[in-house]
Amino acid sequence: MKAVNRPLRKKDAMQLLTGQPVYTQDVAPENCLVVKLLRSPHPNALVETINTSAARKVPGIEAIYTWEDVPQDARRYTIAGQTYPEPSPYDRLVLDRHVRYVGDPVAIVAGEDEKCVDRALKLIKVQYQVLEPLLDFRTAKDNPILVHPEDNWEALCDVGADNKRNLCYHEESSSGDIDAVLAGSDIVIDRTYHTKACQQAMMETFRTFCTIDPYGRLHVVSSTQIVFHCRRIVANALGIPKSMVRVSKPRVGGGFGAKQTAVSEVYPAFVTWKTKKPSMIVFSREESMTASSPRHEMEIHIRLGAMRDGRIRGIDMYTLSNTGAYGEHGPTTVGLTGHKAIPMYGKADAFRFTCDVVYTNVMAAGAYRGYGATQGLFAVESAVNELADMLRMDPFDLRERNITREGEVMPAYFDQVNSSCALDRCMARVREMIRWDEKFPLRDLGNGKVRTVGMGMALQGSGIAGLDVGSATLRLGDEGTYNLTIGAADMGTGCDTILAQIAAEVLECPFDDIMVFGADTDSSPYDSGSYASSTTYITGKAVEQCALKLREKICAMGAKLLGVPPERTEFDGKTIYALDEAGTRGARVTLADVAAAAQSGNELSLEAACTHSSPISPPPFMVGAVELEVDLLTGETRVVEFDACVDCGTPINPNLARVQAEGGILQGIGMALTENITYDERGRVLENSLMQYKIPTRLDAGPIRVEFESSYEPSGPFGAKSIGEIVINTPLPSIADALYRATGRRFTELPITPEQVAMAGWQATDKRTQKTNTREDVNK
């Protein structure tokens, strides 16, 4: 292949690296009103009175809006970027008299500069009726404190939601008789795991500017993964027709799912629609940490039954998910805890997956890379690691006995056939990469430090089966070059590039001859957006099909110029040949000739459009293993190396796939060891800056090594599946297991802090010392 499976430079790489002004704030008009939000200091309260008269007198203030400017009985909406009808409940108003978490907006202030807006914010006088908050998600279901008592709360889909029970979702699914299987198992691992509301912490915080376009419509320019969903959300929020809204995205400074929720868009949209003046909001890092869309905090109870020979017979999982004050992505993330973790153990006789998603008075959660699978895999893989230990089996050997393999039916994956799977090869490769058999289980360095290893596997999806839509249009232009237009959003992942690679492969043209544009609701073909690991697999296939269609049109045009029927032509990417009866090439025209002819007295469109969806979501697979050096006295845990092998099908661009994996792994390491979210008794997030919320620096992990073992997915473009999300999952169970080996303690809550490790380490050291002492006593 000439363009696919090649490590080409990202199309925008040099522009980004040389600091060109390509992001939202860089391209905003200079005269934008500055928009900021007054936020609630209480986790649960009603705004009794709000006095803005002094604030309005500040010179430069253009407008101040409060709940009194927003009809409280209007239809609510969700800011989750999902296909309509959204599973996330309609539970928001632009400004709500009832504020539900510390940070919930109370007023929108717009003024000509930051100074006057900051002053006005301080002058707004609010009297709250403070209500008792519901902060513990374990007590939320059927709690007398209701997060959403209002009658205009609405669930569009039947997802078992009930606002009068604080319930955002409920599901039960099963196969086989799990209770009987567990009763008949030799060993049952019974554990509860807890993961936190980790932050995506993309470097570019949420930001949006809005203008009124020449037709009087609202133009929203935002750092978003979901231009089309965003148009619907903004129109719903403002109560205006969708046709009056246009959404575009410039370059996006990272998303990781955060920008699959319209966190910032609605506020400047409200200001610009009301004032008809351009306006912009730029979230501070503190706002991005305290009033955004982090991962769902979850508690997962696992009962895993197995026989002494290592055969895993059944998994029973109950997940409790905390969606916070609003239900964005609440009903959809939770399912992945079960549906992406259980299927790896495809030989089990039975499974059961039950879950509840509850409202509480903390920041609403959203979408974050892994989307529930991360949490579920931490739990299941940790339980399997514990099982291996109890059986005195090597964790690799135990899995080899149980994993799903290519061609097998996956009962816990909606009975899909495992159409492409190199999980077994990934496992063998990682075992070699980390030199597992030399290092397992533990090496005592003799200075209070030990080196241990741990491993974990992962599965994710490739798009949402039967739902996600990807589209592309391709047009032949001057001199035989092409314009590819997409609605998927490159947020740094490189989708503009890999989609161009797919087009170039089909059109047999140089990669540089494909110009990419995306994404804008007025000019892009419809695409659900860049999330759910869908872009390569879904939109990539749309591009492939689109390019095939355009080839036909090029041949038709060539045939017309050559005076032969289209079926008697051949196109090699540069030239269209007329074929004689024997198939021998004769007269010819160049692609440039065709392109020129297309612009002159022509009625044949040299543009193709294609839309694609897939009834299946073929899973990528991954295995990861870590070597840790643990100081048992201080609890300091150093990642000596992390080795991983990914089966994402054909990597369209091996460089970009590798960097996705390396970056995802480091995020997972952060989630396992340093990234914590805690709330005080008044419902405030303590980790509200990059000072407290510790994302890994380049000193925090040893080498991360990534290799690929590719299966070939028949339904994907050139055999490709997905890579974006799966990569965050394996560090969590790997690190927890390695720390068990170091300390003898099972860590079931993330992150595992040095303090916890030290506490366990001291006990481990004591035990070892006691053992040594006992031996010495005996010797005496």
Binding site: L16, M202, M203, G254, F256, V659, G663, T697
Partner: protein, 159 residues
């Protein structure tokens, strides 16, 4: 206050408030490469040179730069392009938002220590956060660039 700063080789006199940050001042002059990623001097996105030292422009008042030279990535395009190609060849730029600060600080490293070890590279750039890349590709790119420079240096001496 009236201050005078030589920005990317061009002398600029402007009236600033005493609490204006160098970051906001530089952006107001059109140097949009200078980015804000936090409010706590943790991320390194806003790195510029003050005279020839890399500083976090979020933590320097504009008035402190009065009478001095400020260099942003806009003023180092040629030097930056030469290095940046090696990062692009790894695909490690990713979203790009941290790139300007990272490139600035990397150039500062090469000026200070033309032949750094991997540990020295990591140490020097520890304050430049990146959430996308996991840093591995950045390190590979830097090492390739240094190797290329060394090889080219050799060639240069021969001719």
């Amino acid at each position: 206050m009236l201050i005078s700063i030589t920005l990317n080789g061009k002398k600029i006199t402007s009236d600033v408030s005493p609490d204006a940050l160098l970051l906001d001042w530089a952006r107001a002059q059109g140097c949009k490469s200078v980015k804000r990623g936090c409010e706590t001097a943790n991320c390194g996105l806003c790195t510029v040179f003050l005279d020839d030292e890399p500083v976090l422009s979020c933590s320097v008042l504009a008035v402190r730069a009065d009478g001095r030279r400020v260099t942003t990535l806009e003023g180092l395009q040629e030097e930056a392009r030469e290095f940046a190609g090696f990062i692009a060849d790894q695909g490690a730029e990713q979203c790009g938002f941290c790139n300007p600060g990272f490139v600035m600080n990397a150039l500062a490293l090469f000026r200070e220590n033309p032949d750094p070890s991997v540990d020295e590279i990591k140490e020097f750039l520890a304050g430049n956060l990146c959430r996308c890349s996991g840093y591995e590709g950045q390190t590979r790119g830097i090492l390739n660039y240094l190797a290329w420079k060394k090889a080219r240096g050799g060639e240069g001496a021969a001719t």
